[in-house]
């Protein structure tokens, strides 16, 4: 029964995960800062001016990473929500809840930066094209998950309801990803694809990948910070949390 030789399951308990998450935060915060600085340097000083788009194309160094993170965080959230629903593990549902606002933030940033790129390049802030619309649906899904969690008083019931929505909504992620192939969209095709490789200059690609890693590391920091808050706020752990809060100041 106990196949867990390394004791990983110990960290499935929120009270054990709380200090672990706290210790991990600086190990993700430091690379997040360094990678951001390197990414900005590559994006603004190494990558050359695009011959068609001029300097405006530099928006993609945050637009594409934000869009990737918006989808990746959703997948992580759905997996945690699914595990929470099936195995009734509290920490999984808490992690799902902790991922939602950061995912929503990156979704908003993908839409915002896309809009600011679209205005000078397409001549419009917004079109109801498949890629843009499905990304907007992603934002609504995140907001729906957060609103559902907030609107139900009993945290266990809130976890189940929002977990179900998160799980059903995951269908939207492949729709976003493949939207540029399935439909005739104004949005350009994939910047990077397993079959086609990259159609960009190496320095441009590097800037984009480094910024993606930076956003990823940042997401760990934000999600670990938030899951620690969620654990402290749950009534169930109030005695444990009081002792811990006393030690931590």
């Amino acid at each position: 029964m106990r196949a867990d030789r390394f004791g990983w399951s110990r960290y499935a308990a929120p009270t054990n995960f709380y200090p672990l998450a706290g210790r991990l935060i600086p190990w993700f915060a430091a690379p997040a800062i360094v990678l951001t600085l390197v990414g900005l340097y590559l994006g603004f000083f190494v990558a050359p001016t695009d011959f068609r788009q001029g300097e405006a194309y530099r928006i993609i160094f945050i637009h594409v990473p934000a869009a990737w993170m918006s989808m990746w965080i959703y997948v992580c959230m759905a997996v945690y929500a699914g595990v929470g629903l099936v195995f009734n593990t509290r920490l999984s549902s808490m992690m799902a809840g902790a991922l939602a606002p950061t995912g929503a933030l990156f979704t908003f940033l993908a839409l915002w930066t896309g809009s600011l790129w679209g205005k000078p390049m397409w001549g419009t802030w917004w079109v109801w094209d498949a890629r843009l619309t499905s990304e907007l649906v992603l934002l609504f899904l995140y907001v729906g998950v957060m609103a559902l969690t907030a609107s139900i008083d009993d945290p266990r019931r809130a976890d189940r309801a929002s977990g179900l929505l998160a799980l059903v909504g995951v269908i939207n992620v492949p729709i976003i990803y493949f939207s540029v192939q399935w439909w005739n969209t104004l949005h350009q095709g994939a910047s990077l694809s397993p079959s086609g490789g990259s159609r960009m200059a190496t320095s441009m690609l590097m800037a984009m990948l480094v910024m993606t890693l930076a956003f990823w590391m940042y997401s760990f920091v934000a999600v670990f910070m938030r899951v620690r808050c969620i654990i402290l706020e749950r009534e169930r752990y109030v005695d444990w949390a009081r002792e811990l809060a006393g030690q931590e100041r």
């Binding site: 405006a56 915002w112 930066t113 620690r228």
Partner: protein, 54 residues
């Protein structure tokens, strides 16, 4: 390239800096919000502690 040229971004300054600026602002705001949420959680736990003693 001079700094003036750099900030001008070939005439696309509002779009480029509007993107980077809002991104930086929102990420910083998220961290600030999480720090204040943590402080609020600790404050609440201290208050619960006092109620039980008092």
């Amino acid at each position: 390239m001079t700094w003036t040229e750099f900030w001008n971004m070939g005439g696309y300054a509002p779009y480029v800096w509007g993107s980077y600026g809002v991104t930086a602002l929102l990420l910083a705001a998220e961290v600030a919000q999480l720090l204040s949420r943590k402080r609020a959680a600790h404050r609440r736990l201290r208050e619960i502690g006092k109620m039980e003693v008092g």
